[in-house]
Symmetry: C2
Subunit: 334 residues, 2 copies
């Protein structure tokens, strides 16, 4: 042997000569998860207890998802479980705590996608299913279809063992007041008012098997009319997952997210343009979308979890097997 | 002057030296249009009159669209007018002549998109609107929304001057027999049986102003249940238009077109991967999709109109200001 240096010491030196950090410095985490509870303008002067309550809810959801992934569960199971928990949480606009539509009831949308084989399922305008994300998963696994809406989705639920509730079960006083205030205000109510599009929930994850999954669930817009469907149940807009690129869940002004096919566009930029996840996500959220339209969470096949949003804040949290654990609300938090 | 050759003679020589045909040889047509009436397995032994009738219908629609574009109308007006005509045509599975769903009625889906500003509108599961494509355009132009479904879309129609009909107005004997046969057959009825997914209609066009537009309308699947929604009303799957790339309308197994975000993927390959329209369309239809899933029509910003399909046939036609005029049914026709 002529070399006096063992190879393991030499390699990082060579890599750093090439101007790049040694690959060994950032091995792929075994699992990774990012979750969100909506993006918008969260008043800084809101009672401190409110932010704390949101942080506690995000922490519980992050814990649940991390636990599933840590013990080798699938990313699909993790994102479904996290979204079910957030659907039951009255703080968020999904399931219990969903906003009121113009007639004073609730219509819920959800979608889920498995990055391994691109299988996906979605439901829109469901009224009596406690966990719309689970019904979306049943559409994916039990039917030849991707999207079921309204009465038809309810009839499909009748054929499945999913928990049913009265529509009024989704009521919360907070959302009723928000709705009544909204009704009083106007007519002039615009779909893009950021203060009123809060609380869509979502999760994306990479599991130990190397598979990605994404899930999104929402109650839509306060005082919405006309069977309006946003991006949450639209595969490619609100939700996308492909093991070759990334998993994405969106939240914001749904119409803009449909127009630009936000979730799928991020994947397409990576697949066709060779961009990395963060570059692709920024190009879409900060480039295609307008300021204040909303944001996304995403994780790529290397377990890099990111969030990008142009609103003042986004309820969000991330964890991975390297010990990352972040829970955030506003933009400038570190 | 030292040169003995006028510049206009020299330029093509220079271009051909560079190995590329001179641009002047194929100037952009002033307008271009492609239309379709669905893709699937059309029996060669069907009564000759049947193919002739379809050709006559395609010719009339092509004529109407060409006329609008030739006199300087917008691509948006052209694709809407063509789709309205095909919706009224009992031969196709859209509007009058739509297939029957499992309960014996009709639910119609449509979407439209303007490539100039990416504005778009869509409706799903409408029951009493004679021209769903026009309701989709109203969603685009008169609301802040993109997609309205079911009862809500019907209520929105109440606020608009659009022609209404009884649901039974869409009945045709042909489709009723198809439905009854389907019901007898099974249960085992699969969403992907190509013989039964015929007749979705669509149009894409480039106008003299350089703007692209796309429109798609369908009655969905024979004997469909559970409020199933396919790709036709999903912006990015069934329909997409962006002046910077192309306009696309899809037809086939809707679930697969949603999964791969077909219309938007073609645009994304052009935008992010630098592919030309035909390369991008083939990559998606022949690469991402499975054989027999269906096909697309598309036109790019240079007025190149293409179709790509993997079924035995596709009712289709194309015309442009250079005098192109093609009407085709099967795959091998020239």
């Amino acid at each position: 042997m002529r070399s006096l240096l063992p190879l393991s010491l030499l390699l990082p030196l060579l890599a750093s000569c090439a101007g790049a950090p040694p690959r060994e410095a950032t091995p792929r985490p075994e699992w990774s998860i990012v979750i969100h509870g909506g993006a918008g303008t969260i008043p800084r002067d809101a009672p401190a207890g409110e932010a704390d309550a949101h942080r506690r809810s995000l922490a519980a959801a992050l814990e649940l998802g991390s636990e599933i992934l840590a013990r080798g569960g699938t990313s699909l199971d993790a994102v479904e479980a996290v979204v079910r928990l957030l659907e039951d949480d009255p703080l968020f606009n999904a399931g219990k705590g969903a906003v009121f539509h113009a007639e004073g009831g609730h219509e819920l949308d959800a979608s889920i996608m498995d990055g391994e084989d691109l299988s996906c399922g979605a439901v829109a305008a469901v009224r009596t299913v406690r966990h719309p994300i689970t019904l979306a998963r049943r559409v994916m696994e039990e039917t030849a279809h991707v999207l079921l809406v309204g009465d038809g989705a309810e009839k499909f639920a009748d054929t499945q063992e999913v928990e049913r509730v009265e529509n009024s079960w989704f009521d919360t006083e907070h959302r009723r007041e928000q709705w009544l205030e909204r009704k009083r205000e106007a007519e002039g109510a615009s779909a893009s008012d950021p203060a009123h599009r809060f609380g869509t929930v979502g999760a994306v994850a990479l599991d130990r098997g190397g598979h990605l999954a994404a899930a999104t669930s929402t109650g839509g817009l306060t005082n919405k009319r006309f069977g309006r469907v946003g991006d949450s149940p639209i595969i490619g807009a609100g939700t996308y997952a492909d093991d070759r690129t990334c998993a994405v869940s969106s939240t914001g002004t749904g119409e803009e997210f449909i127009r630009f096919g936000v979730a799928r566009s991020i994947s397409a930029r990576m697949a066709y343009g060779g961009e990395d996840l963060e570059t692709a996500a920024r190009a879409v959220v900060e480039g295609d979308l307008a300021p204040d339209d909303g944001g996304i969470i995403a994780v790529d096949a290397q377990g890099r979890g990111v969030w990008v949003f142009t609103t003042a804040g986004m309820y969000r949290a991330a964890a991975d097997s390297h010990g990352r654990r972040e829970i955030r609300i506003w933009g400038e938090e570190e």
